[in-house]
């Protein structure tokens, strides 16, 4: 039986809520610290504790950046899995994405490459992305350059090759 993967396809709304709360806290703490620093000379408040507070606040900002990057990464992974719930297509998607990552494609190029692998034409990809066809063509050129392939077929071959266990590769 194929397990239902629909839950893993859902967006992390709780994580988004957490980011929102952290943004609020970060701004409150930051404004508090700025106010305290302005008073530090007059009241003689403890600079040590103030520095600790500043480090804590900075770490919240760092956490916000980290979590936002994680969510964007998740959205990129999910972008081409809209309707597929099966284990096989999720695994396939990961294999494809791993290739794109090893070629160091940008997020835009990864998106275009994904559409290309699924058989969409240039004009269709342009429409899906709200870009001009010329933009898509230049994305395709950098995909070919980075992967070392010369056309759509060769890109597909590179991906399919890695799925096959070829005897030579074991030697």
């Amino acid at each position: 039986m194929i397990p239902d993967l629909s839950t893993s396809n859902r967006l992390p709304y709780s994580l988004m809520l957490l980011i929102l709360v952290q943004v609020l806290c970060a701004f409150f703490f930051a404004s508090d610290i700025i106010a305290d620093y302005q008073e530090v000379d007059r009241s003689g408040a403890n600079r040590f504790y103030l520095s600790l507070e500043a480090i804590a606040t900075l770490s919240i900002f760092a956490a916000i950046i980290f979590e936002t990057k994680y969510i964007l990464e998740l959205l990129r992974r999910k972008a081409h899995l809209e309707r597929s719930m099966s284990v096989a297509s999720a695994a396939m998607n990961d294999v494809i994405l791993a290739h794109f990552q090893s070629w160091e494609l940008t997020p835009s190029e990864t998106d275009v490459a994904n559409f290309m692998v699924k058989g969409l034409g240039i004009s269709e990809i342009a429409q899906m992305r709200g870009s001009a066809e010329g933009t898509i063509k230049s994305h395709l050129n950098s995909i070919y350059r980075k992967s070392g392939a010369h056309n759509r077929g060769e890109v597909l071959s590179l991906i399919i090759d890695s799925l096959m266990d070829r005897p030579e590769s074991r030697l």
Binding site: R129, G130, S131
Partner: protein, 175 residues
Amino acid sequence: MSKVKVWDPLVRTFHWALVGFFAANAVFVDDDGKVHIWIGYTVAVLITIRIIWGFVGTKYARFGSFPPSASAASGQLTDIATGRKREHIGHTPLGAWMIYNLLLAIIVISASGYLMTTDMFWGVEWPEEVHELAVAWAEVSIIMHVLAVIFESVRLRTNLPRAMVTGYKIMNSDR
């Protein structure tokens, strides 16, 4: 490229009047003075007019054209994550959430501010605390709103602040 009329004069006047009055009360005007209270009343009237306009106004001013939707918002986030440049003519889904957030924050600010002036709540602490908390929340939201507008203007290569002045949005894709 095409020019689309998106923001009617009422929406634009409301937006910039709110900017002016909020800034005045938050930064420039004495909190305990009469002027602060009168600006507060003006803001409350502005919000009321905008909400009515949200039901009877022009196409992109209506709440129906920018419903709060989590799935649409995550769609816009996916566009950002994958570098897609799909344009929205009216408010974007994420922008819509910010509008409801700001409307609500300013309603809370106005209501709590009014309670502070009533005899019934004279000497009662919580309306003032709510008032100040809501103002802080609104200020954080405004900072995020401005940053988001700049981010989207750069991402989609269209001058969104100018659209809120002229009423016309430059669309890069032809649709």
